[in-house]
Symmetry: C2
Subunit: 214 residues, 2 copies
C-alpha cells in the first residue's frame, strides 16, 4: 500500500511527480525503471502505463499515469498538506487552468524538444540536430515573450502564488539552464527572476539531489 512511483530520476515527467510529492511533504516509494534495457516497453510496465512512458504511479489500489494527471490528483486529494498547489476560487482557478494548458500546449513542446536535443542527447552520446534546435528556439522565444508580459502583472504564472502551473515547468527549465537556451530565460527579467525562484525551492532541490546519487 502507500504511494509508489515507477520511473526514472532523469525523466522529466517523473521529476514533475517527485516535485509535487515533495511540495506536499508526502512520503513515497520509488522504483527505478531502466529505460536502457527497455524495461518501460515490457509487459509488466505496460500494465501500469499502456503507452510505455515514465512514470507510473500507485496510491493503494489506484493506478495512474500521465504526469500532469498524477500531480493534479496529488494536489487535490492532499489539498491541506504542504504547499497549496491549486487555487480554489472558481474564477482564479479558471485562469490558473488557462496557464496550465499553456504550459502543456505552448511551452512544453519546444522546451521538451530542446531538452532532448541539447541536454539529453549529449548525455547518451547522441548528436544534436541543430536544425531542430533552431526551429524550437524561435518557438520558445515567442512563448517566453508572452511569459515576460504575464509575469510583469502576476507574481507566478497561474496567479499570486506558486501552483502546479509553475511546478510543471521545472524539469525542462532545469535541463535548459545547463544549455545555451539559458540565455532565452536570462534576457527576460521577469522570466529570469521567476525561473530562479522556482528552481531554488527546497522541494525541487530534493529532486535534483536524487540525480546526483545516481
Amino acid at each position: 500500500m502507500g504511494i509508489k512511483v515507477h520511473g526514472g530520476v532523469f525523466s522529466t515527467a517523473t521529476m514533475r511527480v517527485f516535485a509535487c510529492l515533495n511540495e506536499k511533504e508526502i512520503h513515497f516509494e520509488f522504483t527505478a525503471v531502466d529505460m536502457r534495457t527497455g524495461e518501460h516497453k515490457k509487459e509488466h510496465f505496460l500494465l501500469r502505463n499502456p503507452f510505455g512512458k515514465l512514470p507510473a504511479f500507485e496510491d493503494g489500489d489506484l493506478k495512474l499515469f500521465e504526469s500532469r494527471a498524477i500531480t493534479k490528483y496529488i494536489a487535490s486529494t492532499h489539498s491541506h498538506k504542504g504547499t497549496q498547489l491549486v487555487i480554489e476560487d472558481p474564477k482564479k482557478k479558471a485562469i490558473m487552468s488557462v496557464w496550465m494548458e499553456v504550459e502543456a500546449h505552448q511551452f512544453d513542446p519546444p522546451a521538451s524538444k530542446l531538452t532532448w536535443e541539447l541536454a539529453l542527447k549529449p548525455q547518451f552520446g547522441m548528436v544534436t540536430d541543430e536544425a531542430v534546435v533552431k526551429v524550437h528556439e524561435v518557438e520558445l522565444a515567442k512563448v517566453l515573450d508572452i511569459y515576460e508580459a504575464r509575469l510583469s502583472e502576476s507574481k507566478y504564472l497561474g496567479g499570486d502564488c506558486f501552483t502546479l502551473v509553475d511546478l510543471h515547468h521545472l524539469p525542462t527549465m532545469h535541463y535548459l539552464m545547463g544549455t545555451k537556451i539559458k540565455a532565452l530565460f536570462g534576457s527576460r527579467p521577469h522570466v529570469s527572476a521567476w525561473c530562479a525562484e522556482c528552481l531554488a525551492r527546497p522541494a525541487w532541490l530534493k529532486v535534483v539531489a536524487m540525480q546526483k546519487k545516481e
Copy 2:
C-alpha cells in the same frame, strides 16, 4: 455580459468549446474571427489571447483562452446543467484525468497534424505533405490500439459515462472521418462504435450545422 465565444466555426479548438456549451445547454454569443485576414494576430484579439490562437472566451468579466481550460471551466461551474461532463468521485476523477491528458498529449498531436494535412490543407488549396501523413498515421494507429483495449473494458474513454475526455476528441475525429484515416477508426470495433456514438450526439450535430451555414 453573458457568455461570448470569439473563434471560427472550422477551428477545431473553437468547435470543442461549442460542443461543451451545447452539451450544457448554455446560450452563447458567437463572434467570428477572420483568420484569412489575420484578425487573430491583430492587437484587439491578442488582448484576448496573447498566443493569437482561436478561440477566446468571455463569461462576464472573466476572459479565458485555451479550449480545454474553457471546457473545464464550463463543466465545473455549470455542473448541474445539461450533460454531466465531469466525474466527482476522487478516484474515478483521477482516472478521467489520466485519459484527459492522453487525449492532449498522445492523441491530439498526430490527429491534429493529420487533420491539417488531409482535411484542412485541401480546403485552402494547399498541397498535402504525404511524408508527414505517413509518420502521424503510424503514431495515431498506435494510440488507437490502446484506445481499443481501453474501450473494450470501459464504455467511454474517461469512465462509464460520456465526459469531457470524449468531447475533446470530437473536432479532429469529425474531420478525420472525411479522410482516408477513417479506416484506422473503422478497423477497430470498440473505437469505431465509440466514435460513431460520440459523433451522433445532438450537441455535436449542432456544431457541425454551424459549418453548413457558412
